[in-house]
């Protein structure tokens, strides 16, 4: 069984303690969200899980066969056009150029890009289109584990729903597992099986919330209801400093 297991993870940058005693397991087909205020060590935690940072104390065991990353800001290569950007991951895996281009074109169309956009460079794309390309690049490699680092935060509500819809579709078919970082509780409730609340200074997990209902059955009413509930939670209020002072 593929899984991502984090045990007793601590991390420091110099003398600053960033993360303390993080433990969780992400199983295949699950969506795990880490929520918390900005600067709480969420991105560091994700980078440790994705092997972009070296683990110093504790352990991160990743047995997923493949993974990919969608970043908060698209991080497209400015000198490559849309299709070549999407094909990057496929080419890195050693697929033939022809096949990679074909797959990239297919997924680009599915993600709402148009044929006339294929040759465009990132400088000619709107923010939303860049994020579509970034998503397509991450998903075209059919990863079994997807890392999402607040990819929705700069998007308008329509596009957000559209991209989340694609993910929910994949989740309900158990095609993908997701480690999702966000500071938006509603987003987390819409997508996750489990939410970990990460409190800052140093980052440590203070509470876990589980959601049983399958993602494709969660309607707006459910999401709003659960959001209202979670917003009254004392730990949430404390962590996000929601109290009026």
């Amino acid at each position: 069984m593929e899984k991502l297991e984090v045990k007793n993870l601590n991390h420091h940058f110099g003398f600053t303690e960033i993360l303390r005693d993080i433990n969780f397991t992400l199983n295949k087909g699950e969506v795990l969200s880490i929520v918390g205020p900005s600067g709480g060590g969420k991105t560091t935690l994700m980078h440790l899980c994705a092997d972009l940072l070296d683990v110093e104390e504790g352990s991160v065991t990743n047995t997923f066969t493949s993974s990919s990353f969608a970043f908060q800001e698209g991080r497209l290569l400015p000198w490559k056009n849309v299709i070549d950007n999407i094909a990057l991951g496929l080419l890195a895996k050693g697929e033939s150029k022809h096949e990679a281009i074909q797959k990239s074109q297919e997924i680009a169309l599915r993600f709402g890009l148009e044929e006339e956009d294929f040759e465009k460079f990132p400088k000619d794309l709107s923010g939303g289109m860049k994020q579509r390309v970034s998503f397509a690049r991450a998903l075209v490699v059919k990863p079994s584990l997807l890392f999402l680092d607040e990819p929705f935060s700069a998007l308008d509500i329509g596009l957000k729903k559209e991209l989340q819809g694609i993910l929910i579709d994949m989740i309900s078919k158990k095609e993908i597992s997701i480690l999702f970082i966000t500071h938006d509780l509603m987003e987390a409730i819409r997508l996750s099986d489990e939410i970990l609340l990460l409190k800052a200074d140093p980052g440590h997990i203070v509470k876990r919330f589980s959601y049983e209902l399958t993602q494709n059955q969660r309607d707006d009413k459910y999401v709003y209801g659960e959001s209202a509930k979670i917003l009254q939670d004392e730990e949430i209020i404390d962590t996000f400093e929601l109290e009026l002072k």
């Binding site: 972009l52 990353f69 290569l77 990057l88 080419l91 890195a92 460079f121």
Partner: protein, 279 residues
Amino acid sequence: MIINIKYDIISTTIQIRNNVKFLLKILKDFPAYLWSGWGAIASIFLFLAFWDFGNQVYGDLVLPSPLVTFQTLTTMLLDENVWLEINTTLYRASVGFGVSLLLGSALGLVAGFFATASMMSRPIVTILVGMPPIAWIVLAMIWFGMGDETVIFTVIIASFPIIFVGALQGTRTLDGDLKEMAESFKLPWHMKFFDVYFPHIFSYVFPAWVSGLGMAWKIVIMAELLATSNGMGASLAVARSQLDTPTALALVVVMIGSLMFIEYIILEPIKREVELWRS
């Protein structure tokens, strides 16, 4: 291992094929680029008009008319000896520029990868850039005497820092976010180099080459004028001593003309294609 090598060879072939395609695109867009040059030609003619006006005001000795200059130029270009001088200058400029291109790019790239090296190289670059070329010429004359070496040395020392700084900036400014992205997709080393690092570095190094070349061309003439008895710079010195203004101007036209040819006919079309992605 063998599979890896094979894979590398395949991707290198793809890379070469891409480069050929790129070259063809440059050639294909070339006529359109030339056609866009009418504005430039108009401004050159305007300049010639002012030049002729200057001739009418100040007379033939001070400023020969464009017509006389170009007539002198034609007779000059029919003379084999003049071509020898031009070749000598071309040789010196290209050896000097070639050396600083290789040295400057290589050292700049290496220095860019190490924080200490780039920090340490800064004051040296300031000295190299700040030192007037004429002072280098004097020193080189003392060190190497009158000849090729002096000129080539001065050309190297003048164009090296420009290229070095370009290459250094290119590596220093590599985007950490993109590196991380490349890590996350586990790009193999050749893709990391060709797809992530190279285009960025090249966008810095290429303009530096262009300005380095302009500098080399200017310095070679100056060094020749002071330190040698052949080459275009020396011919210029002779024209000066004989108060032969038409020949001096004709030489200037050759210098400017060749620089314009290299810049606008060779380099600019390449630059346009290379920097298509820039906003």
